[in-house]
Each structure stands twice: as structure tokens, then as C-alpha cells.
């Protein structure tokens, strides 16, 4: 593992971010406007059900963070696939792991910076986030782990299946949202699907977010449980990415998408 390979890719991604200003719009404008929209809804809901408004606001904050962390890792990769730049990386001796670590690190940095702004804005709308900062950070860490795991699964899948499957970068997370019980308790769902909810990487993140919004105590056991599930996804994602990358190398897809 060569550190300068990772830092070179990250520096290059930063140059691209600086040059493609509309990417900055995607990273900041959409999450921020969405949050402001729900913040205004929370303010409006003060008249009848303020806590419901805050639940929507805080869950959306975590949802945006989750989405940003996953999508940016995959978007930084897609930039290389679309521009056919990826070939130069691998023939320069950059390994598949150095490559993806650079992308995951970049997305973590970007998502964290945006999250700081989002938390501040949500606090202004009345969400008790600063008061629960250790829990907010803990839940964000768990959400990040789940998002990066998902980014790894998607990166491997796109490399294996081809550029045409880029839509996975935007649509995959939506597969998880319904079963991750964002705005409702898993107990509302039919028993037949409830077990799936329990093994989703984000279910407990949202449960924690609802607890923060309603100033309810979060059981420490739940955080640990959530961390173990997200961690399991993260650990499993690496062999999948490695397997998919090698499959792409064997099938010829890697050479095809790189030229």
C-alpha cells in the first residue's frame, strides 16, 4: 500500500472538484435546500406537532449525510470511468485498494464538511443536536460506515457490470430507505419484513435520529448493535469489491471500461 498513490488521487479529485463547479452545487446545494425545506416544515409544525417536524428534519439530515458519503465515493469513481482516466491509474501501478481507499477518503472528507454545515442549520431550526453531540457523532460514524460499505458494493458492481450500470450510484441507496424504517418504528412494518429491517445498516441510525429529535435517551446497547451491523457490512464489502474487481479483470470488463 503506497500512501503517495492515495494522496495523489485525492489531490487530483480535489482539482476536479475545484474545476467542475457544478459538482459543488450537487454536494452542497441539494442537501442544504432539502434540509432547509424540512427545517421550515419543523418551524411550521411548532403549531401542532413540533416533535414530528423535528423527526423529519433530523432523519433527513442523517439521510442526506448517508447519501452524500455513498454517492460522492461512487461519483469520484464514475468521473474516472466517464473520462477514461482510470486506465492510467492502474497502469501506473496503483492497486485497486489504493484506488478505492482514495475515493472513500475523499467522500468521507466531503460528507463530513457538509455535515457540519447541515448540523448547524438543523440546530438553528430547533433540532437538539449540539446538546447530543456525542450521540450525533456516534450515529454519523455508523451511518458513514454503512454508506462506505454500500459505496464499495456499488463500485465493485459497476466495475464488474460496466459503465452502463452507473445508475446504481444513484438508485442503490433507495433500496434501503424503505426497509431502514426512517420516519417510523420497524414495529409498524409487517412481521414478515421486520427481520429484514433489523439487518439493514441504517435502521438503528434512524432510530437514534428519532430519539435525538424527541430528546429520548438512546440505549448504549443499540449504538453498539448498530455499529456491529454497519461494521459487518463494511467488512463484507471489501472481499466483494476485490472479487468484483478481479472478475472485471478476468472477464475483460476492466480493460473495456478503461479504454
Amino acid at each position: 500500500m503506497k500512501l503517495h498513490h492515495i494522496t495523489s488521487i485525492m489531490k487530483n479529485d480535489l482539482r476536479v472538484l475545484k474545476k467542475v463547479k457544478l459538482r459543488m452545487l450537487e454536494i452542497t446545494y441539494f442537501p442544504l435546500t432539502t434540509l432547509v425545506m424540512w427545517g421550515l416544515f419543523a418551524l411550521q409544525s411548532k403549531q401542532y406537532a413540533f416533535q414530528a417536524g423535528l423527526i423529519v428534519l433530523v432523519v433527513n439530515l442523517f439521510w442526506s449525510f448517508t447519501q452524500l458519503a455513498q454517492q460522492e465515493a461512487n461519483m469520484f469513481m464514475m468521473e474516472d470511468l466517464w473520462t477514461l482516466n482510470i486506465r492510467h491509474y492502474f497502469i501506473a501501478g496503483i492497486t485497486e485498494f489504493e484506488y478505492i481507499i482514495a475515493k472513500l477518503t475523499m467522500s468521507t472528507l466531503v460528507a463530513t464538511m457538509v455535515a457540519v454545515v447541515l448540523v448547524t442549520v438543523a440546530q438553528w431550526f430547533g433540532a437538539p443536536l449540539f446538546q447530543n453531540l456525542p450521540h450525533v457523532i456516534g450515529l454519523a460514524g455508523i451511518a458513514l460506515l454503512g454508506s462506505l460499505a454500500l459505496a464499495l458494493f456499488i463500485a465493485g458492481s459497476v466495475l464488474m457490470l460496466g459503465r452502463e450500470y452507473a445508475f446504481l450510484c444513484w438508485s442503490s441507496l433507495s433500496l434501503f430507505i424503505f426497509l431502514s424504517a426512517p420516519f417510523y418504528s420497524p414495529s409498524i412494518l409487517p412481521a414478515a419484513v421486520r427481520w429484514i429491517t433489523e439487518i439493514m445498516p441504517f435502521t438503528y441510525v434512524f432510530e437514534g435520529a428519532r430519539a435525538i429529535a424527541t430528546s429520548t435517551a438512546i440505549p448504549q446497547g443499540m449504538l453498539l448493535h448498530a455499529a456491529l451491523i454497519a461494521g459487518a457490512y463494511f467488512v463484507l464489502a471489501w472481499p466483494y469489491y476485490w472479487w468484483a474487481f478481479n472478475r472485471a479483470r478476468k472477464s475483460g470488463m476492466l480493460a473495456r471500461i478503461a479504454s
Binding site: 489531490k11 487530483n12 476536479v16 474545476k19 473520462t83 477514461l84 482516466n85 501501478g93 475483460g252 479504454s259
Partner: protein, 301 residues
């Protein structure tokens, strides 16, 4: 230790209901300091070989070694590659693109190296322009600069002059020869036979995934043709004995000979001199690599 050794490499691509044997037991080596041409028609397997050497593709069997080692991060430090359609990020300018590769290859004093390449490839006016705004020839110069940034000992060039104007293609060829003179080993694929003939020391001809010929350019041409077609116009009609001795055909003062190699040509000319004939005109048709390409492709079909 040869810069490239390809040993018994086979590769089959397959999907639901289809299967293509892209390479069948391909073996060759590229020797230090030579320009080695990999020739063959479209779909013959040239790019597949290059992709396997560059570890972008895994062989089903056999192996490709670079400086005696399997592809790894360290061996790639002294290698680079260029293809005719090399692309870089559209939004970055050329300085940024080269800076990135200087970082990746850990080039000592990158500014100095970039300045050298800018001067060498006459890119002074391109440096602040975004890649998307360059012409095809300018893009190729950038690809060349990237390929040379790490002072490679081995350069793989896949159709480097494809679609270029003749003057730019000629400039590229001069550059390739200059690199060879500096000791860089080059593996080149090209569709342009005159280019291969001009540049390559040795070639391998690949057809439907099989190496059908390998050797130095002159040798492989003569292996398939073995002849020079010579037409002589003499100042007087040659004697019957002279015609018979040299197996000449034709009438009057204009005679033809089909000769086996350069020695036979020398012997004929010496005979003409000894018999006291003067040569008014001489035409020697040597087989070109294009003749070779057409013949070998035809033979294989």
C-alpha cells in the same frame, strides 16, 4: 532479462451463448532496446495481449512477465503506455494532468521534468488549456508527455498514430526512434505497415489469436516471399548462355529475374558486369510489409 516475456498465454472471452478464443498459446519476447511490432488485422488479439501485459486483463493460462516479474506496483514504476485514443479528465488543464502523473510516479523535481517534456513536445501553448479543448494531435502530445514523465525503460504503444495527420504521425515516429536511440524498449501495435517497417526491429504477426510469425522484419518478409523481382534493361541483348545461367525471362534487352535474397541479386549484377553488359535501367521490387500482411492474412484464411 527481457523487458517483456509472454509465455503460452491463452484467453477466451465468453458470455451467454457466445465464446471467442481471443488468444491461443501466444508466446514471444521483447528484447532490451528494440522496437518490437505486434501486427495483425482488426480483432486479431493485439490489444488483448497489451491488456494482459499491463495487468488490465487476466490470462486464462500462461503468463506475461515484465523485467522477469509478474506485474506489480514496483515494476510499473519503470513502464508506461500510450494509446492513440488516450483520454484524460476533460476539465483539467495540461499542467494539472502532468502534475498528477508526476505525483503518482514520484518523479523527482517534477517541475523540471514537466518543463523538459513541454519543450521536447512543443507544448508551451497548451499548458493552460483544458484537455477538452485540444485537437487530436495536441491530445496525443499530452499522452506522450504523460507516457514519458517517469523516464520509462519500457513503453507500450497501442496504435499511437491512429487517425493522425501525416505530418503529426511522422513527428510521432521520429519521437519513437529518438526514444529507441536513448535505450527505451518499445512494444508497438499499428495498422500502418509502412510505419512498422520504418520503426520496428522485430515483429510478431498475430492472426485470430495465434502468433503465426515472429522475427526481424527482413527475415519474416523473406521467409514468406524469399524473392526479389528484378527487371534489367541492358545495352544489348544478352547471350543465351547468360540467360540460361541466371534463369532470366523476357525478350530483347529487357529481362526479368526472380531472385532468392540479396546474395542472388549481387551475383546477377556481378555477372552482368563480367559479361561486359551495361545496365540502362534497373527495377528491383522488394516485398513490403504490406505485401507480407496481405499474404499472411490470405494464407491463414
Amino acid at each position: 532479462m527481457h523487458p517483456i516475456v509472454v509465455k503460452n498465454v491463452s484467453k477466451t472471452f465468453s458470455g451467454r451463448g457466445w465464446k471467442v478464443e481471443a488468444l491461443k498459446d501466444v508466446s514471444f519476447e521483447v528484447r532490451k532496446g528494440e522496437i518490437f511490432g505486434l501486427l495483425g488485422p482488426n480483432g486479431a488479439g493485439k490489444t488483448t495481449v497489451i491488456n494482459i501485459i499491463l495487468n488490465l486483463l487476466t490470462a486464462d493460462s500462461g503468463e506475461a512477465l515484465l523485467f522477469g516479474e509478474k506485474a506489480n506496483s514496483d515494476v510499473f514504476k519503470s513502464i508506461n503506455a500510450i494509446s492513440g485514443n488516450s483520454q484524460f479528465h476533460w476539465a483539467l488543464n495540461i499542467t494539472e494532468i502532468l502534475q498528477f502523473f508526476a505525483d503518482v510516479y514520484e518523479v523527482p523535481n517534477p517541475k523540471k521534468r514537466i518543463a523538459e517534456l513541454v519543450k521536447l513536445l512543443r507544448m508551451e501553448k497548451l499548458m493552460d488549456r483544458k484537455f477538452r479543448w485540444l485537437s487530436t494531435g495536441e491530445k496525443l502530445r499530452v499522452a506522450f508527455a504523460k507516457a514519458l514523465i517517469n523516464h520509462p525503460k519500457l513503453l507500450l504503444m497501442d496504435e499511437p498514430t491512429l487517425g493522425l495527420d501525416p505530418d503529426i504521425a511522422q513527428h510521432v515516429r521520429k519521437e519513437v526512434m529518438r526514444l529507441r536511440d536513448q535505450g527505451v524498449t518499445i512494444l508497438l501495435t499499428s495498422h500502418y505497415m509502412h510505419e512498422v517497417e520504418q520503426l520496428c526491429d522485430r515483429i510478431a504477426f498475430i492472426y485470430q489469436g495465434k502468433i503465426v510469425d515472429v522475427g526481424d522484419v527482413k527475415e519474416v518478409k523473406l521467409r514468406h516471399f524469399g524473392t526479389y523481382d528484378v527487371t534489367l534493361t541492358l545495352d544489348k541483348q544478352p547471350s543465351k548462355a547468360f540467360v540460361a545461367k541466371h534463369k532470366l525471362t523476357g525478350k530483347g534487352m529487357k529481362v526479368h529475374a526472380t531472385l532468392e535474397g540479396e546474395d542472388a541479386l549481387s551475383a546477377l549484377l556481378a555477372g552482368v558486369h563480367e559479361e561486359g553488359y551495361n545496365i540502362r535501367d534497373i527495377a528491383v521490387k522488394k516485398p513490403t510489409l504490406e505485401d507480407y500482411f496481405i499474404k499472411v492474412t490470405g494464407d491463414q484464411r
